[in-house]
């Protein structure tokens, strides 16, 4: 007789979403730079900001309260509303 086991997982199906096409240029776009609060992440992001501005992008800076927790929902929403692109710095 076949044995029956109970599924220990969350039984969720994974939603797959296609990535947006990469823009050919950042000129005129707003780019969000998210600092996750790791030491020296700002050094990396400062340099990125400089390069992006040189290429005609406007930059907005954001910061997670701590690197160890997911970004708060409000912050994610704010970035989604204000920016067309986002770069998250995982530097240490």
């Amino acid at each position: 007789m076949a044995r029956t086991l109970l599924d220990p997982t969350s039984e969720r199906t994974v939603a797959e979403r296609a990535r947006l096409p990469r823009p050919t240029s950042v000129d005129g776009l707003t780019v969000g730079l998210l600092d996750i609060s790791k030491p020296r992440g700002d050094v990396f992001l400062d340099r990125l900001e400089q390069r992006l501005v040189e290429h005609g992008a406007s930059v907005k800076r954001y910061r997670k309260p701590t690197f160890s927790k997911p970004a708060p929902a409000d912050l994610r929403h704010e970035i989604a509303v204000e920016c067309q692109l986002v770069i998250e710095a995982l530097a240490d």
């Binding site: 007789m1 076949a2 044995r3 029956t4 086991l5 109970l6 599924d7 220990p8 997982t9 969350s10 039984e11 969720r12 609060s37 309260p65 701590t66 690197f67 160890s68 927790k69 997911p70």
Partner: protein, 484 residues
């Protein structure tokens, strides 16, 4: 009677209903009385559990699958039930002549039988059968997806293939085992215990029970597992960050209270080691919930550089019954006598050896010397630690309370900022230069050095369990009373 696999309760016939089995001496003794009732009343139904030929008169119904006995909570045979309109009005168990006479309305019933005989256990509560019966008749309370294992398939291998294992074999979570596990709590199977990171998937009591079965828990451990899951999935404890971090840390469960002894936890010799079922499986069950419900797996969201053996499951009991300075949960506000778990985001253990000190100040200095290098001698305040003091070390501090011991150790853990800044001692790691002028900096934040008491037998040793990044940035220890 009803066929197997039905969870619907068989209807209760109106009139008198008696459940018997031939294997019961009292049932055989009262067989003449059953014949007498059948002759004098037309509304007697007899159900037999083991032999369809017993009794001879009246002809019984055969409760072969024990559905009637299960659903009508027959614990003893014989049981006499008076029913009216499908509803039970009264019942008696065993043979009590006067009660049977009153319920049947037959004044001289069983006049030649003994006045009283205790009954026997109903087959439906036979320990060898009860798990299968619970699965057959109680399975509908479980909502997890059923997965059939093919005849030729090895179930242990199948669970490995599906990624359900932490690397060690897991116990197959059958309906019977999960239902038996759920007997360990009064909470409903569909109650949400917590939202489990990283997928933020809700875990029901049932899903936690499945993980507990797989980990090897007994049902009486389940309240501890449920409490640990609740404590882990709080914003303060930050299970998400603990999972995602590159540091070698996981949830460390420090249990205390009389319940630890009731479920046979080890707080004595080898308390932090192998060989005790409760110690070994409760912490593992929490990690299996995170893995299977939350989707937290090494190489995916779990980014640990090295990990540690404790990440399979790290759980031990404090010997609070014999502790000379109380227990950690007491320091965290739990009243005496209340079972509790402290969850600490910690790494593996490291031994403090001092076999010579016989004076508290000397031993406090030894402890401090061992603790100062936690994670890095020049990094301070950012990490907590649990000190698991062994009984022979604790004896050196006889008469001291926990605050005095911790203060004495901390006293030898302060250093000047100039010794800790980057570059000091030729070591580039260290505090920012801004701390250079601080005259005295502590190794631990307030409450960051947590004292516990466990271990046993000979040995002038203690153990250090180092913590992950503490407080708002990382994890705060969370202490919860066990909810049953």
């Amino acid at each position: 009677m009803t066929t197997a696999n039905s969870s619907a309760a068989p209807a209760l016939p109106d009139g008198l209903v008696v459940v018997v089995k031939r294997d019961c001496e009292t049932c055989r003794t009262i067989a003449p009385a059953l014949a007498d009732v059948a002759a004098k009343r037309g509304d007697l139904t007899v159900l037999t559990q083991d032999d369809p030929q017993f009794p001879d008169t009246p002809t019984p119904l055969f409760d072969e699958d024990l559905a009637f006995s299960w659903h009508h909570d027959i614990e003893t045979v014989p049981t006499l039930i008076v029913a009216d309109g499908g509803v039970e009005r009264e019942r008696t168990i065993g043979w009590q002549r006067e009660v049977w006479q009153r319920l049947t309305g037959i004044d001289d019933l069983g006049a030649d039988l003994p006045p009283m005989r205790p009954g026997c256990g109903s087959k439906s509560v036979d320990p060898d059968l009860v798990d299968a019966l619970r699965a057959r008749f109680g399975g509908s309370i479980l909502s997890a997806r059923r997965i059939e294992v093919a005849d030729a398939e090895d179930e242990i291998e199948m669970m490995y293939t599906r990624g359900w294992s932490d690397g060690l074999p897991v116990v197959p979570p059958t309906e019977a085992r999960v239902l038996a596990m759920l007997e360990g709590t009064a909470r409903a199977p569909d109650e949400i215990v917590a939202v489990i990171p990283p997928d933020l998937a809700p875990a029901t009591v049932e899903k936690v029970a499945i993980a507990a079965v797989m980990a090897g828990c007994r049902p009486e451990y389940l309240p501890w597992v449920l409490t640990a899951v609740e404590a882990a999935c709080t914003d303060e404890f930050n299970m998400h960050g603990l999972l995602a971090t590159t540091m070698p840390v996981g949830p460390v469960l420090i249990c205390s209270g009389p319940g630890t002894r009731a479920i046979g936890m080890n707080s004595g010799g080898n308390a932090l080691g192998q060989g005790n079922r409760a110690n070994s499986t409760i912490g593992r069950a929490l990690q299996l919930v995170v893995r299977n419900v939350g989707g937290g797996r090494p190489g995916e969201i779990d980014r640990a550089t090295h990990g540690s053996p404790g990440k399979v499951g790290f759980c031990f009991a404090e010997n609070d019954a014999e502790s000379p300075y109380g227990r950690l949960a007491g320091e965290h506000g739990i009243a005496d006598g209340v079972d509790a778990i402290t969850l600490f985001a910690g790494e593996g253990t490291r031994c403090v050896v001092d076999q010579i000190s016989r004076h508290p100040d000397s031993l406090a200095r030894s402890m401090a010397a061992a603790l100062v290098s936690l994670h890095h001698p020049k990094l301070i305040m950012a990490f907590d630690a649990v000190l698991v003091m062994g009984p022979e070390h604790a004896r050196v501090f006889a008469g001291w309370d926990r605050a005095a011991i911790v203060d004495a150790i901390n006293e030898h853990l302060t250093r000047s900022g100039s010794a800790l800044v980057r570059g000091a001692d030729g070591i580039e790691e260290g505090l920012p230069e801004a701390f250079a002028d601080a005259p005295s900096l502590p190794k631990f934040r307030d409450g960051g050095l947590m004292l516990t008491y466990a271990g046993g037998g000979a040995g002038l040793f203690s153990e250090i369990i180092g913590g992950w990044v503490n407080d708002e940035v990382g994890s705060k220890p969370v202490t919860r009373a066990v909810s049953y």
